[in-house]
Symmetry: C2
Amino acid sequence: MCNSEISERGDKDAVENGVFLMPKFDRDGLIVVVVTEVTSGEVLMVGYMNEEALKRTIETGEAWYWSRSRQSFWKKGETSGQIQSVHEILTDCDQDALVLKVSVAGNGATCHVGYRSCFFRKVVKPDSGAVQLERVETEKVYDPADVYNNS
Amino acid sequence: MCNSEISERGDKDAVENGVFLMPKFDRDGLIVVVVTEVTSGEVLMVGYMNEEALKRTIETGEAWYWSRSRQSFWKKGETSGQIQSVHEILTDCDQDALVLKVSVAGNGATCHVGYRSCFFRKVVKPDSGAVQLERVETEKVYDPADVYNNS
């Protein structure tokens, strides 16, 4: 029997207190995934998995997602080398969100803009006018033009 | 002028590299929010905000969400006392996800099941059969029956 067999949704108690993985996929068949760096705990990105991407991730120990923009499977790092090795997968109480604790290969960055984390900007409140953003990561880890050479 | 004015979505470069908050709400008008504990960095929960909940959060410094199950605004902690004071709000490259770094009042827990974090279980791979879950938090912080007294 395959060792990534995912259980059908049970009742509320089974979902919240049970010992089986019963992910709740949304109406597009997706579940939201928060990716953190296993050592620092930093949030690197938010992605989405369908059931098959989740199975592949559990089976292979490397993170697979479903790309909503491209409507296709997406093994993180296939182009960039930023492969995510999965150290731990957590699920929340109602099993409609996952946390992946990963280490990142290649240049160690995650964001396609060039930063370590996709969350490289914070909100700052001006005295008036539109809410602004300020970089919390000041330096890019790499130049995306060197990696995503799609010309 | 109000200091939580949120900008209209701009072009890709403005979204990814710009200095204005231009959140991308999904077709239900929601954006996904990852909540972490400001000191430990632990992921506590995943919630959703609509534009008004985000404005209230920025204005008040306490976390407001949109409850998808109840279809109503939800100030986290209003019933449980587990109010979230917001220390920092981060946005990701394409501005369709937020990270909230918070400290939690009351009993310090976040999960309605009684644990500190909603992510209190990890995935373990059995040799055969369905994927199982194992608690990473062994002790509940509180008994939900003491807090959510809806009888």
